[in-house]
């Protein structure tokens, strides 16, 4: 460990713990910066929310090239700000739901077959062939896209639960637990698989899925609370990357979903801790109005952060009401 890392580590020790007021302050600052960024860079006449999603997808996918025609973003439309505003005020989560669907290039086309279930199903089925977490980069990439497509399809009821179960089983068959919790190496996309598992467990009746899902939830909880894998605890870690932070937020989302599904406060407790660690990282993020890649990364990360803290607070407040009204939480 170099002297810089030691000094960084010691400086980190003196940082005060992040409170919810710190989160809110941070959200306020980031909202302001994101709005400025959008106002400056998005001013087209014909709003098209999906266009911006495509750009952000490309960024999260690392397939964005500096040669891509950035000014086209200007044609996306001014109502993105309105949608974004609605979203941060919790009036609509549609925009962020779209963002959560990153890397699904299929969505990029304006001819995306909304309501055409069969078309989407065959697309997903085509991804199943050769998707694997353990083999080549290509198959890993397929597994990542498949898990995201599966989650999107399930959560938007485009694919039915039985098909979702098939996909989840296929993905799980190649995912060794040691790879799911891989210290130092992030497995982007696994959060979508776990979240699909929750949906299948909730709406399906597959005994294997139910048992596996419950066991896995306990394992994840222990990892978040005790082991603190790189993905969950990267404070003071110089190798923090955009992908790490984004996947961390998705895992937090998973914890919150399990909390609601199982009515189990332990998962909310873990999400609170996980999001506090995240808050420390977001402190260092600054967004200028310049349209460049770091700014777009930070904008997206900020949107996710705002989303997850809002989601956390909705559940926390709901839980508080239940507790004070005496309903109780025994499962």
């Amino acid at each position: 460990m170099g002297m810089t890392s030691i000094i960084g580590y010691l400086t980190g020790l003196s940082k005060k713990n992040i409170s919810i007021y710190d989160h809110y302050q941070q959200i306020e600052r980031l909202q302001l910066e994101v709005r400025r960024f959008f106002t400056k860079n998005i001013n087209g006449e014909n709003p098209d929310i999906f266009g911006l999603t495509v750009y952000i997808n490309k960024l999260t996918d690392n397939s964005f090239s500096r040669d891509d025609n950035l000014p086209e973003v200007g044609a996306i439309g001014s109502n993105v700000i309105r949608v974004f505003d609605n979203c941060v005020r919790n009036e609509s989560s549609a925009w962020l739901d779209l963002l959560f669907m990153n890397t699904l290039e299929f969505y990029a086309s304006e001819e995306f077959p909304f309501g055409k279930k069969q078309e989407f199903e065959s697309y997903v089925a085509s991804l199943m062939d050769g998707a694997s977490w353990t083999e080549t980069d290509d198959s890993l990439r397929k597994a990542q896209i498949l898990s995201q497509a599966c989650h999107y399809g399930l959560s938007n009821k485009i694919i039915d639960v039985d098909f979702g179960v098939q996909i989840v089983k296929k993905l799980l068959s190649t995912l060794h637990r040691g790879r799911l919790f891989n210290r130092g190496k992030i497995m982007c996309g696994t959060s979508f698989l776990l979240r699909s598992l929750v949906i299948c467990n909730k709406f399906g009746d597959d005994a294997y899925i139910s048992e596996f899902s419950n066991k896995l939830q306990e394992t994840v909880l222990r990892r978040v609370e005790i082991k603190k894998e790189t993905i969950f605890a990267y404070v003071n870690n110089s190798s923090v990357t955009f992908s790490h932070a984004l996947e961390q937020i998705r895992w937090s989302q998973y914890l919150l979903e399990v909390c609601v599904f199982r009515n189990d406060l332990r998962f909310l407790n873990a999400a609170l801790k996980s999001n506090d660690r995240l808050g420390s990282v977001l402190r260092s993020i600054k967004i200028s109005t310049k349209m460049d890649i770091p700014n777009l990364y930070n904008t997206l990360l900020s949107l996710y952060y705002i989303y997850i803290i809002n989601a956390q607070e909705r559940i926390y407040n709901n839980m508080q009401e239940k507790i004070y009204s005496g309903i109780g939480f025994h499962v």
Partner: protein
């Protein structure tokens, strides 16, 4: 009649619970306190051992314990199998929660958070024999604890202390008299809990007032 040989393992040399227990064992007929094992808080041997165990994280722990306002949090440690297998009868532990329902840590607060208004929180202490899992060994005895007026979340530990000593001595007496009855735990009968986030603790400290 031969005496029951007892050794106490204390986390630190001035741990009140361990000292009270040692005193109770010394006063108990037919019980021979043969060892009181502890680690000195500050000794070269301990510091070296901790460095070996925790590495750079030790600085963080020391910082939190001595230089921040935040109280140090108890850390659960998994005991090695060799240690657990050494005593003839087993290693006894008093867990500050009702087993098998509440395993892990923070179990004085979690039952308060989870309880419905109609039922009192499931608080108490459980004597069990330790195994390699987290509070999963066979149960010897438990004692429920009721909340009294004026009880606060932050001083529940003090309320538990005498009960913990009493329960341990009761178990020691049963072992001495050869009447230990063990109840095996099933993992599906309970859950593992973890340290509460400050905001959850805040709710628990408000909610406790409903029961006192």
């Amino acid at each position: 009649m031969s005496k029951l040989k007892v050794a106490i393992s204390a986390p630190i040399d001035d741990n009140l619970y361990s000292l009270l227990l040692a005193k109770a064992c010394l006063n108990e007929f037919g019980v021979d306190l043969v060892a009181f094992v502890t680690l000195r808080t500050w000794s070269i041997k301990r510091v070296l051992m901790e460095i070996d165990k925790s590495g750079i994280k030790l600085i963080k722990r020391v910082w939190r314990k001595y230089f921040t306002s935040k109280k140090s949090q108890s850390r659960s440690t998994i005991i090695k199998k060799g240690f657990l297998n050494t005593p003839k009868i087993g290693v006894f532990n008093v867990h500050m929660g009702i087993l098998p329902k509440y395993r892990g840590i923070g179990v004085t607060e979690w039952p308060i958070l989870e309880a419905s208004e109609s039922a009192a929180p499931l608080l108490g202490v459980t004597l069990h024999i330790m195994d390699t899992g987290v509070d999963s060994g066979p149960i010897i005895e438990e004692k429920r604890i009721m909340l009294d007026s004026g009880d606060e979340i932050h001083d529940l530990d003090q309320k538990y202390l005498p009960e913990m000593v009493r329960l341990m001595i009761s178990g020691v007496k049963k072992a001495r008299d050869g009447i230990l009855e063990l109840t095996q735990q099933k993992s599906e009968d309970g859950k593992q809990y973890f340290m509460l986030h400050d905001r959850m603790k805040e709710i628990a400290s408000k909610k406790i007032k409903k029961y006192v």
